[in-house]
């Protein structure tokens, strides 16, 4: 298992953002759904080793991230796209991705090829030498995805990765997710249920810091049978599970 979470909790003052979550994940694409404030980003940040838990246990890639050595090893094998990724406006696309490849401790001899492959993966070959300040929001998001995959991560964490992408790019992105999901654990936090339906093998639905559903997209769809709210079957499942959790 690449991710083993048990009774994981994160509090901010009196607010419990993540409240006793259990989760296990091996290779595959996992969708993390939920309304605003459900705790998705906090959970993802803990898995990215950016935010330490208040309590509970977290094992990533068979290591305990609380100690420096294992944490560093996890970070070498991790790809993370934060919800709000800032950019150095004076860097080119290639320089930005190369910078983070080096900070991920990749062997410097492998970096140029890995950077080129990541740029091509996200379809930004024509913009590799463009300054980041000249790119559109969708292109910047793809730069963020490229830095996340540059080290061929075993654990890929993506927070709202499709925000700002046009429909064509979203379709291409889902293909990339499926490709990575064959050899790595990919966890995608999103508001867009169609991304989950198209790319995810499992889906976890969070509300008020707790997991209220975990299963396949088909199982979530089945939850929505006979439920009126939502245009798509998965949306109806989503609404039905949330309504049941809140009642």
């Amino acid at each position: 298992m690449n991710v083993e979470i048990s009774e994981l909790t994160r509090r901010f003052g009196r607010t419990e953002a993540v409240a006793g979550v259990d989760l296990r994940a091996g290779p595959g694409v996992f969708g993390l759904l939920g309304p605003n404030g459900a705790g998705k980003t906090s959970l993802l940040r803990m898995m990215a080793t950016v935010l330490p838990p208040s309590s509970g246990t977290l094992r990533l890639l068979d290591r305990d991230p609380r100690s420096y050595g294992p944490r560093r090893e996890i970070r070498r094998r991790l790809g993370y796209l934060p919800q709000n990724l800032g950019y150095y406006p004076g860097f080119t696309v290639a320089e930005f991705i190369e910078y983070f490849a080096l900070l991920k401790d990749m062997p410097s001899g492998q970096v140029p090829r890995a950077v080129a492959a990541a740029i091509e993966h996200v379809g930004l070959g024509g913009k590799a030498r463009a300054k980041l300040r000249t790119l559109s929001g969708g292109m910047l998001r793809r730069v963020g995805i490229a830095q996340a995959i540059v080290n061929e991560p075993e654990l890929l964490l993506l927070d709202e990765p499709t925000a700002g992408l046009d429909p064509e790019q979203r379709v291409a992105f889902r293909t990339l997710l499926r490709e990575f999901g064959q050899r790595a654990t990919v966890i995608v936090s999103t508001h867009l249920v169609e991304d989950v339906a198209a790319a995810c093998s499992e889906v976890t639905l969070m509300d008020a810091g707790k997991i209220v559903f975990h299963g396949t997209p088909d199982e979530l769809i089945a939850q929505g049978e006979g439920h009126g709210i939502g245009d798509a079957p998965l949306e109806r499942g989503y609404s039905a599970v949330l309504a049941a959790a809140r009642s």
């Binding site: 970070r75 993370y80 830095q147």
Partner: protein, 243 residues
């Protein structure tokens, strides 16, 4: 996402395997790697060897207060200090060097100046190590520039070297304030305010503007302030515990 709308015509026209079974995609990646790769300069190669980490070396070379514009601005201010010292007899270089170095330290690293701070925190090269290396490099460069300027202004040895200890304290204060408040501007202001209060306080007490630099009685308090501020900076950059 490969072969998206932003790919060049040349790339779009590439087939997968070539006529002789050559994987043209692989060939292209090799070519692109050569073309897009930014060759590290001499300074980066040296830093990489010294630090034994190409990532740390790149992080060092991208320090805002080590960029050419910043270093030139620092040099210009020190040159102005040399000119004022020579024309007035007051050792202005010794008085302006500490807050100048403090400003450089405040702008060395941190959430206030790093737009990708969240991402940087998830990297294998630890953010604390980046902060340490950058702060030491900025401190060292400012010390060298200040010493050269001070010597050029013809100051006596006590003044030439006297400001190094207060500079350590001002740098510590700027670093602590910048990391604690996550704002480099607050760091700069704290360093400047602390230094102004010390200089003016000593001026009133000792009757000399340079007393803050030359008084041996202040060495220990300066070192104590510097040590306390480093502890505060380490506390501010620790991995936060859950509440």
């Amino acid at each position: 996402m490969t072969r998206g709308p932003d790919m060049t015509d040349h790339q779009r026209g590439l087939p997968g395997p070539g006529p002789d079974g050559v994987d043209l995609d692989r060939v292209w990646i090799g070519v692109a790697a050569e073309v897009w790769h930014r060759r590290p300069g001499l300074a980066e190669r040296l830093a990489s060897r010294l630090l034994r980490s190409p990532g740390l070396a790149r992080a060092l070379l991208t320090t805002p207060s080590l960029l050419l514009g910043w270093v030139l601005a620092t040099t210009v201010v020190l040159l102005a200090g040399v000119a004022f010292t020579l024309s007035t007899g007051t050792p202005w270089v010794a008085l302006i060097a500490p807050p100048l170095a403090g400003a450089g330290i405040a702008y060395a690293y941190g959430p206030g100046i790093d737009p990708s701070w969240e991402l940087s925190q998830s990297m294998a090269v630890s953010d604390r190590m980046v902060l340490l290396v950058r702060a030491l490099a900025v401190f060292g460069l400012n010390a060298i520039l200040g010493l050269v300027a001070s010597a050029a202004s013809g100051a006596v040895a006590a003044v030439t070297f006297g400001w190094l200890v207060p500079m350590t304290a001002v740098c510590g204060l700027a670093l602590a304030a910048a990391t604690l408040t996550r704002s480099p501007n607050v760091g700069v202001l704290a360093g400047l305010a602390g230094w102004l209060i010390t200089v003016l306080g000593e001026r009133v007490g000792e009757g000399r503007l340079t007393a803050a630099v030359t008084s041996t009685a202040l060495v220990l308090p300066y070192l104590a302030v510097a040590a306390a501020c480093v502890v505060v900076a380490l506390y501010a950059t620790r991995t936060p515990r859950g509440t």
